[in-house]
Assembly symmetry: D2
Homo-oligomer: 363 residues x 4
């Protein structure tokens, strides 16, 4: 299905960095969900990142809701969200259009689209296309919240600095909703900001690891094969630009554990079945068990750096060197957190609507 | 789509551990692909694992091809592969049917299927269902081979022992096709076998990390968003039981690199565009660039262990303790390698058929 | 998705007329639905047609349930239904394999599968593949019945003889469940039988029109665009071999009506909204309104006739003449009724499960 | 997939009659297809209908291409087409919002969306949403044309007047591209215009039958089951508002034929295999045979009439009478032809791209 994701809830993404507009169509969401514009705007702001750490282009990024919302609530029909491209610097991209920026998609776009792609600013591959995903995610997050389901992401590590882990989901989620740079420990937050800033000064970039928790998902959601919760989430998460790894619960650390250490014992807590540990990230056999869903995403350093790089002209088949001009971020990890939350929310809505029907979120 | 995976090539999986048969239907494969029965059987044997390391049930696992193959070649219509369940020990599962084996899917199956699931031996969740996937994968691997595309997986680490990395794909792939335990270094192979054996003696289990390489995939395959190569592959790979993490190229190690270290410089090699390093695993912007596709899967320790475990009776809502009887493997990582290869092959066939049309593999 | 139909409930069909087995996999049906074997067998018998009107091959057509059913009830996991091909007359098809039987799929199979298709007895195109669809439909029909939804089909006309229309759904549905040739009027039933018999005597064949009614579907099911009830049903119905037209309600007769004649006025009946007429077949804007769903299918004469026909050898590119030997039916319309019911039931289950969630049919 | 249609080529439709904008996203079309703006505009004009026969609202209907087109050609990435709603008469719909207009979707929208639907002017169900489909179709038609595939539709009958059938596809297609009211016979064209005009004078409406031909589709396209050419086309065609029947080739007239009359004999014409008759509409076993694809659509009278009608208030559960005010067409059949062409073109592109890969239409 190419640029469409999801079954019961689907998201279709469109747009290019320097085209007329970017946006997406969300289809399948229950009717009656209130659009919280203030929340939507605050999510969009989080994606832009704090000024201090970001030289990225400053667009108003006003989200226009073209359809699917009536009297402030979802109608149940497709919602088209559109963001007009305003600040599309009219610099001349044609000079460099056949130079493949390393670790960018210029060369693969050429291979796939045969020279017809819009090469300006990464075109359809631009990280800018996460903006409509964040707008869509804002609606999904509110729908989930109405069912007691919450999602939050923090920077687990960046620049050699490691944040503390989630301790108290409720308090930590509240904290993350209020701060600009999603790091739980205040001191580490500053250190990470400094590490990113240091990286900028030398014209380089860094990545890191994002850690996400989802609480409140009922047990029994997901499929045993293929459309497992892990499979569906990872499918969505690898669309977040720069994500190159996804692990659930103990993840790669499982390789250091024995079964008796790794297994999560069940116990009865009042009326509920719970597990003492949560190495399996709230998922057994691809299906939720009611415990928090936990995962981590590896985020590579932003490929646009100011240093001179070796590359090729893929039309002329010549070796070339390249310095990427313009504005670029020394890190996007702090901006990516809200994109992870958004893709997670959209995926979970899909799974829940498939399980419980189209009225699941209807008031 | 629940138990169906793929678009242009789809696989639908069916069966329960102790039901009449397990199997799958593969639809969309090009006509004219020769069925290599010897290869299919050898793949099935690899999945069973070597006797020394495996107490798993010994089934003949004869794959019956019910449809879609005529005069030894694929017809282009759906292929149903069926394996009858023979050795379904008639032990009484009803005693323990409401006890949730830790880190197994017994409890989540109850939540999803409301008590109607076939609980015997894990039912539909059983690792046994990877057998038809391996059979399907054998057909896909041969199709890919006809186009010069090869896939192989080795144990990168297990029990604290680390194998060497791929050095020469051709030689290493050949080696892996000939040995039982997929470890490149002969000495490490023995050490890993001993580590697994040691684990068995204490009634515990271990996991590890599998490392996979794919060579020969043409550039320009995959989608920029959602159906990225990483998204499609991870979606499939998380269906391999016990896989809890997937990373591409440098993966989680990207968090320790700067952009100037992480970026893969392009260069011209004769007529071809190549990269000097391959941290991005042959994938830029979700699309193949012609370099090898590289990924690693975290495999958790097999949850069935002989040690006593704490759990619950989810019907009675009581705390219980449990010793899992019967036959179980101290590790499945050496058996999982061929399942990873199979899922990878099926996913790549899907992507290639979508890109190049239904006749892509036709002779 | 090729040989898979449906989203929330999917059916994947496999097999060839003279292969080892035919069958299908049904995925997504709610757990807990009782398998009514007697009903399943009686549906299979209806598909075979009465002896008097059918020379078709006599297979036992025993349906083996390979998976997805436990202790007599659906588990919620994929159900594989398999029918072994027993009576595959070993006649030599290779002589005629390059002769295109008129109005059969021999030539189009060659164009699509490039010579690799199983040409024996129509291969994957054989009407025999409706047998697993009828078996799958039997499960779907029982699921629907548990929610008060009923489906029945009669021959509206055949051989110039016109049956009466549905008068009393309950009584007419009961009658149709008890008789062999689905004609409401007893006298017409005999006349139609005679017309078919007369056709056989001259070595020719006839078609006709099937009329279907569905009662009890709740209002609010279906989608406004694309996955309309009409769109979904017709998509499925055109897979019934020989169906070449589908009309809903007044259908093609709408062309003779004015808006004031065609519109269905609403009225209140107790607590319910109903319409006085039902020209729109219980569907407005693609969505059910609670009135019976009504449609008619045009069934072409069976293409296999005993008369000599002009055709080509598509390999040699020569004009040829052909007499089709073997067993063939002078009509399949009476046998097609139960296939229509089955496809309708499967499609409606899909729509209902999508609307109300996976547990909709759970007891 | 709700409001998305197609696999290899998909169309996602959004918008409401009185919302901010309507539009669609087309994904999967090959790169390099030239956008013929003049053709697009002329198709949009055809959908609006000639002034004389249409009182429908007069919108500029300027199609904005937000993405997926660069330097006048498709890029291969999603194309978002948007039409802003300008002439949304601010009349007060709230008075009548709970009155179900007969044969409209007001009541079914209430059942599906539970009161959250945008009820103004039919909301998401409005025939106005065919405008973006026609715009999308214009791109698809040009892509097909580049491969020698042509589509045209005429009014086969309306108001008791029957047009002649297609005689010479090339000449007839040219004629239809040049005239406003798609009737082949000039005299009948005038008569049909008069019949529609007469209907308007009495405040009523009429429907009719549309007949479509597609030439140039290569043999071997489509699937044997489910995604048959008939199934895919009908699925799409029933989304054209007011279409209530679809028949291929001889269609419902098959019921009056014998097999020997109905079968299409093959013959060799130079290098090509052709059929003498084309009762099967160029489709055997669900797959194209290279002959023209022929089908007819039954179009019901437009439900909006000026006459007083009986209906209900579905909130209050009371019987009411209703006179629908505002602008409405006495017939839409002449305007629907171009919508049929568009849906046909989009469906065929989907089938061809699936068969031949994503570059099929690339220059």
């Amino acid at each position: 299905m190419k640029n469409t994701f999801g079954n019961s809830l689907s998201v279709t993404l469109f747009g290019e960095s320097h085209g007329q507009a970017i946006g997406c169509v969300i289809d399948g969401i229950s009717p009656g969900i209130e659009i919280d514009k203030a929340f939507l705007i605050s999510q969009m702001e989080k994606r832009k990142g704090v000024n201090a750490l970001s030289t990225a282009r400053r667009e108003a990024d006003e989200v226009k809701i073209l359809s699917g919302v009536f009297e402030g609530k979802t109608t149940g029909t497709p919602i088209c969200l559109m963001i007009e491209n305003a600040d599309t610097k009219s610099k001349d991209y044609s000079k460099t259009k056949n130079l493949a920026r390393p670790s960018h998609a210029d060369y693969t776009a050429e291979c796939k689209y045969g020279g017809y792609q819009d090469y300006r600013g990464g075109g359809h591959f631009s990280g800018r296309l996460t903006a409509p995903l964040v707008a869509a995610g804002a609606i999904a997050l509110k729908a989930l919240e109405s069912k007691g389901i919450k999602i939050a992401t923090h920077i687990a590590c960046c620049g050699g600095i490691t944040d503390r882990e989630f301790e108290n989901y409720e308090a930590d989620f509240k904290l993350l909703s209020e701060i600009d740079i999603p790091v739980l420990c205040e001191r580490k937050r500053e250190e990470i900001a400094q590490a990113i800033e240091a990286c900028r000064r030398v014209g380089d970039s860094i990545g890191g690891i994002l850690s996400t928790a989802v609480t409140g998902v009922p047990a029994g959601v997901g499929e045993p094969w293929f459309d497992t919760v892990e499979g569906m989430l990872s499918h969505a998460l690898f669309s977040v630009p720069a994500v190159k790894g996804v692990e659930f619960g103990a993840g790669f650390d499982f390789s250091k554990m024995t079964g008796s250490q790794a297994n999560d014992s069940f116990y009865i807590d009042g009326e509920n079945v719970k597990t003492k540990t949560n190495n399996n990230a709230g998922i057994n056999g691809g299906i939720t068990n009611g415990m928090p869903i936990l995962f981590r995403c590896a985020v590579k350093p932003t490929p646009s750096i100011y240093k001179k790089q070796e590359t090729v002209n893929f039309k002329e088949k010549t070796n070339e060197s390249l310095v990427i001009e313009g504005r670029h971020d020394p890190a996007i990890i702090h901006r990516a957190a809200v994109v992870i939350d958004s893709m997670t929310a959209l995926t979970l809505c899909d799974l829940l609507l498939s399980r419980f029907g189209t009225d699941y979120f209807k008031p």
